[in-house]
């Protein structure tokens, strides 16, 4: 029983326990915090494996971006002081079946995993080979740059479209009542906050 196994067991326990917390908690933001611990635990597993780039990407994309925007959305759209989710028994049943199926699938996949013969002490290649083969410098000039650019421009278009759809709408025959104008202005301001 070496140190790596002990550390992995601790990280896995934290990840699994907080994943249960996500499913069990009713408050949306508490579930988000449990999910935060789950994601950090997964990032910790990546760091333990020496995949620093993947771990850092996990942190910046999911924790620094997605989770923040999720809680931000809850904060802005919430009516009462704390948002609460009520789960129906049917939803529990469907979710449980799906989760069980996924667990069986992943467990069989990882038990059938054939080792690549590398030990944890082998020096890791780092990110430069990934970047070079991505640009087509290695691997006989097979470049992945064009598909990547197509996908990213597509994502950008989707983002711009979403911002366009969600913008504050001006009525054509705007009634010039002071109260309505006031709310309209507030909407505009909020939208400006959401769009980024």
């Amino acid at each position: 029983m070496n140190l790596t196994v002990v550390l992995f067991a601790m990280l896995a326990a934290v990840t699994a326990a907080s994943a249960v917390g996500v499913a069990a908690s009713r408050s949306v933001v508490r579930a988000a915090v449990w999910l935060l611990f789950t994601l950090i635990g997964v990032a910790g597993v990546y760091f333990l494996l020496g995949a620093e780039f993947l771990g850092a990407a996990q942190l910046i994309v999911y924790v620094g971006g997605t989770m923040v925007l999720m809680v931000f959305g809850v904060m802005i759209t919430n009516q009462g002081p704390f948002a609460v989710l009520r789960t129906k028994p049917v939803e529990w049943a469907v979710g449980g079946v799906l989760a069980g199926g996924l667990f069986v699938l992943l467990a069989t996949a990882s038990l059938n995993f054939v080792s690549s013969g590398k030990t944890p002490d082998d020096p890791l290649p780092g990110i430069s080979p990934i970047g070079l083969s991505f640009l087509g410098v290695e691997d006989g000039g097979k470049s992945y740059l064009l598909p990547f650019e197509v996908v990213s421009v597509h994502l950008l278009v989707v983002l711009v479209a979403a911002a366009y759809l969600a913008r504050a709408k001006r009525r054509v025959n705007q009634v010039a009542s002071g109260k309505e104008q006031g709310t309209n202005k507030e909407d505009t301001r909020q939208e400006q906050g959401v769009t980024p």
């Binding site: 408050s27 780039f53 850092a56 910046i60 923040v68 904060m75 704390f82 780092g126 400006q192």
Partner: protein, 395 residues
Amino acid sequence: MTDWLATYMPHWAAVLVAAGVAAGVLVSFVGLAAFLYIWGERKVSGRIQDRLGPTRVGPLGLLQSLADGIKLITKEDTAPDGADKFLFRIAPYLAFVASFAAFVAIPFGAGLVPQPVSTGVFFVLAVLSTEVFGVMLAGYASGSKWSLFGGVREAAQVVSYEVPRSLCVLVPVCVLGTLDLTKMGQQQGGGFWNWIAFHDPFNSAAFVLFFVTATAGCKRAPFDLAEAESELVAGFHTEYSGFRWSVFFLAEYASMFAVSGLAVLMFLGGWHTGFLPFEPTEQFGFWGGSALNAAVFVGKCTLLVVVMMWLRWSLPRLRIDQVMMTCLKYFLPISCGLLVGVGLWQLYLHPLIGAYTKYVLGFSTLLFGLVVFASLFTAKGVAPRRELEGVWAKG
């Protein structure tokens, strides 16, 4: 250190002891830095506002932070009735852990780094970006509208400013060709004209832009919309008291130091003095050289932190729409332009021009600094007239 310890104990214990020692040293360093920076902040603000700052506790008021700390620890740790108690209690520690974890990958000298990370810059940016979560959570869990507004503003601001900040980081990365902070520092050895900030005009601009966006990312004035005491009572920490309140400030000063460290390592030559033509660890031995390196690095970071304080007490706070507009309409296009510009500079410029640019930029900056410094002594001060002008001035 692990190898040396492993001769006395099993390997796993050696790893744990080495990690514990490194973490202990870092925690004490962050604590001591915050202790002195808070004192410095008060002194700087005092001098800028033409008063003395703390003078009573200890020589020059140096122990003021200790007195504050004792006061804060003995204060009652309250949580409002309407708050989500669990999230309310955990939020300050989330913020502090995030900004403290960034120190894992920051080298204080050649080889003087807790854990060498091959993608150090990316790691530090990623870890620092999670600090905002603690602040938002504090705002949400307090159950108070002022805190909620503070949290919402913080989220909108920090997430937006992350984009130009990361783009500015890419500009020196294009020149240095690595994401490893130690290698970045090593490439800037020798004279100060080798520092990346003087490499080309785009990097000089990127340094300024990175510093501004990093200031905004640390929610420091003029971007401290999350606390904005003139509008939101105290923003996200309205409901906090005692020790938890001070943990937020520990996190703030730790992340100020961390982003200054990033700026120093990427743009300002890292741990190099800028005058010694050799690497100190090779000339004076590891410990002697490392002591010099760490002192130079901490000195440079402190200089940048003092500039942040100077900005805070000189500039008025922006409005939230101005903050967002500055980021999205100005900083974002400018940083994209800088990235394109540095690419063209690296690819298409005649190497001879590039070789001379660093001397021109480096020495002109030095000359400008010296002129400003000399003008402090030659400028004639204005003697106070002992009466306010305006309505009291007698015709």
